[in-house]
C-alpha cells in the first residue's frame, strides 16, 4: 500500500483542464499490469492521493497512461508536474470492464466527458481483438467541442470501417459541424442487436442513468449494461469504508458494475 515513484515522461494536453500523463517506473522491476477499467491511486508528494483510471493499452502496461482532469489540489498538482516530475503510483485496483464476457456480442461503448478515459482501454482492447466482437459502436458526448478528449485519436477510430464512432456535444460552437444533443440520442441511432449487446457506460451519474433508461427501452438486458462508479476513496482496498455504496465497496466490488447489481441502490438518494 506504499506508492512507487513513477516518472512523468510526457504530458499531453487534451482540453483546457485535462491532461494525459505518460508514466514510467522510476526504479527497475516495477510493472503495473492492469485490465481495462481498473484504476491506480496516484500520489503527489506531500499533497495527497487520488483514484485515477488507467487510460492506456492494457496489453502494453509500460508506459502507464492516465488522463486527469483538474478538479482540486491533487489533480491540479499532478497536471502541473511536467516532464521529469514524479508521481507515486499504487495499483491496479478494482474490477475491469467485462471485455472477455462480451466476446461474441455487439458492443456499445458510451462515454460522457472524462468518462472516455477509462473506456479508452476498452477501445484499444477491442481494436486488437476486433474479430471477437459483433458490431461495435463508440458513442461519445461532451458538453462542448472544447471538452472532447483524444480528438485526433477519435478521428482515427472514426476512420476505421469496423467501428461506428459517433460524437455529440450539448452546446456547439461556431466551428462545430457535428451532432448536437445529449449522448442518449446517439443510442437511438446506433446499430446493435438488443438481445445480444453488451454496453459499457461511463460518465456523470445522471448521464449514466439516462443512458441506461434508453438502453432498457431499446431492449438491452440490464445485466448486459455495465457502468463505472465514483465515490470518495482513501485506501482503494476496502479498508477505509469511504466508498461504500450499499453493500458494495466501489473500490473492490467496482468501480465497474453490471447495472443490474446496483440498480435498486441507484434509485435511492444519498446512499
Amino acid at each position: 500500500m506504499v506508492p512507487h515513484p513513477f516518472r512523468v515522461e510526457r504530458v499531453q494536453r487534451e482540453t483546457a483542464d485535462t491532461f494525459t500523463l505518460t508514466l514510467e517506473p522510476a526504479a527497475a522491476g516495477i510493472e503495473i499490469r492492469y485490465r481495462p477499467g481498473q484504476f491506480n491511486m496516484l500520489y503527489l508528494f506531500g499533497v495527497g492521493e487520488v483514484p485515477i483510471s488507467v487510460s492506456g493499452d492494457a496489453a502494453s502496461p509500460v508506459p502507464l497512461l492516465h488522463t486527469v482532469r483538474v478538479a482540486g489540489a491533487v489533480t491540479r498538482g499532478i497536471c502541473e508536474l511536467g516532464r521529469g516530475g514524479t508521481v507515486g503510483v499504487r495499483g491496479p485496483y478494482g474490477t475491469p470492464w467485462p471485455v472477455e464476457q462480451a466476446e461474441g456480442s455487439d458492443l456499445l461503448v458510451i462515454a460522457g466527458g472524462i468518462g472516455l478515459a477509462p473506456l479508452r482501454s476498452v477501445v484499444y482492447h477491442l481494436m486488437a481483438h476486433r474479430e471477437k466482437y459483433g458490431r461495435v459502436a463508440i458513442l461519445y458526448g461532451t458538453r462542448s467541442p472544447d471538452d472532447l478528449l483524444y480528438r485526433s485519436e477519435v478521428e482515427q477510430w472514426r476512420g476505421r470501417f469496423d467501428l461506428d464512432v459517433d460524437v455529440t456535444v450539448d452546446h456547439a460552437g461556431l466551428n462545430w459541424h457535428g451532432r448536437v444533443g445529449v449522448v442518449t440520442t446517439l443510442i437511438q441511432q446506433a446499430q446493435f442487436d438488443p438481445d445480444n449487446t453488451v454496453a459499457m457506460v461511463c460518465g456523470p451519474e445522471i448521464m449514466m442513468r439516462f443512458c441506461v433508461r434508453e438502453l432498457e427501452d431499446q431492449g438491452v438486458d440490464l445485466g448486459d449494461i455495465h457502468i463505472s462508479m465514483e465515490r470518495n476513496m482513501k485506501c482503494a482496498v476496502g479498508f477505509c469504508g469511504h466508498c461504500q455504496f450499499g453493500p458494495e465497496f466501489i473500490c473492490k466490488d467496482g468501480p465497474v458494475f453490471s447495472y443490474q447489481r446496483i440498480a435498486d441502490l441507484l434509485d435511492v438518494r444519498e446512499v
Binding site: G46, V47, G48, G72, A73, V74, R76, G77, G84
Partner: protein, 268 residues
C-alpha cells in the same frame, strides 16, 4: 530546464478587534518558527516587526472582527492586497466575544453610556470578516490551535488542501480515548455541535466543551439543547452557553434566539 530562484511567499498578519491571542499563536510555534521563516517572508506583522514589506501578499492571516467604520474600510484594502486570505480565530470568523453586543438592544446600550464625553465611534455590530470580503479559508477557535495554523501554512506552501476537518469535537475526543463527560459524568458539553480542532481539550480536562471552535458542519443544536434540559439545565443557561465566543456564528445564534423565544424558564 532553467533553475529559477523561487521567491519566498509573502505572509502578512492583520489585526482587527481582538485579543491578539491568535496571532500570538504564530509566535508560539516555538519549534517551527525558525523553519517557517526559512520558507516565507514576513511582509507585515506588527506584533513582531516594525519593518514592513509592500504588498501584495501571498497569504494574509486576519485576526479580529469588524467593529468600526474605519475597519470596515480597511478590510477591503487588506483583501485587495492579498492573494489568499485566511481568517484566524472566533473574532474573525464569527465576530468573537465582542459580538455579544449584537444581541443588545441599542436603547439599552446607549443608556449605560457614561456621562463623560464620547470619543469613540463604533459599529452597532461586531461582524465576521466574511461578512465584508471574500475569505478563502476560516480557521476556527478562541484561540486557534497552533497545530492547525501550521497545517494551513504548510498546506499553503505545499499547494495542498489543508486538513481542517469540520466534524464534531466528539470524533477527536473519542480518538483520544477521553471518557465522555456528558454520558459518564452528566456534565453539559457542546462538543457534539462544535467543530473539532482543539484535540477535544476541555473534556480531556474533565470539563464540558463550551464551543470555542464554533458550530460543526451539521450542528443539531436543538437536539443537544433538549438533552441539556434533561440534564437539568434551564433555557437561560443554554442561551448563555450558545452565546459566548461564537455567539454570532449562524447555528449558535439561531439556537440562542430560538431558546429566547421559548422563554427563559430556569430549571435550576
Amino acid at each position: 530546464m532553467a533553475v529559477v530562484e523561487k521567491s519566498k511567499p509573502k505572509i502578512a498578519v492583520w489585526k482587527f478587534a481582538s485579543c491578539d491571542g491568535c496571532q500570538l499563536s504564530l509566535l508560539n510555534c516555538e519549534d517551527e518558527l525558525l523553519n517557517l521563516l526559512g520558507e516565507v517572508e514576513i511582509g507585515y506583522f506588527l506584533e513582531a516587526s516594525r519593518a514592513t514589506v509592500e504588498g501584495p501578499y501571498d497569504l494574509s492571516l486576519v485576526e479580529g472582527s469588524i467593529t468600526t467604520p474605519h475597519d470596515a474600510e480597511r478590510i477591503h484594502s487588506v483583501r485587495r492586497r492579498s492573494r489568499h486570505l485566511v481568517t484566524i480565530g472566533a473574532c474573525a470568523t464569527a465576530g468573537g466575544i465582542q459580538a455579544l453586543r449584537n444581541f443588545q438592544d441599542v436603547e439599552e446600550f446607549t443608556s449605560i453610556v457614561y456621562a463623560s464625553p464620547q470619543y469613540i465611534s463604533t459599529l452597532r455590530k461586531s461582524t465576521a470578516i466574511a461578512d465584508h470580503v471574500k475569505v478563502d479559508l476560516e480557521l476556527r477557535g478562541c484561540p486557534i490551535d497552533k497545530g492547525q495554523l501550521l497545517e494551513v501554512i504548510g498546506a499553503f506552501l505545499a499547494g495542498r488542501k489543508p486538513g481542517i476537518p469540520s466534524h464534531s469535537v466528539c470524533l477527536e475526543c473519542k480518538r483520544q480515548g477521553t471518557v465522555c463527560v456528558m454520558v459518564a459524568h452528566g456534565t453539559p458539553c457542546l462538543g457534539p455541535v462544535t467543530q473539532a480542532g482543539c484535540r477535544a481539550l476541555c473534556p480531556s480536562y474533565s470539563r464540558g466543551c463550551f464551543g470555542c471552535f464554533g458550530p460543526m458542519e451539521s450542528p443539531n443544536t436543538a437536539s443537544l439543547s433538549d438533552r441539556w434540559r434533561q440534564l437539568g439545565e434551564g433555557n437561560h443557561n443554554l442561551i448563555r452557553a450558545f452565546r459566548t465566543f461564537n455567539a454570532y456564528a449562524d447555528a449558535f445564534r439561531k439556537e440562542s434566539e430560538a431558546l429566547e423565544v421559548l422563554g427563559t424558564r430556569d430549571a435550576r
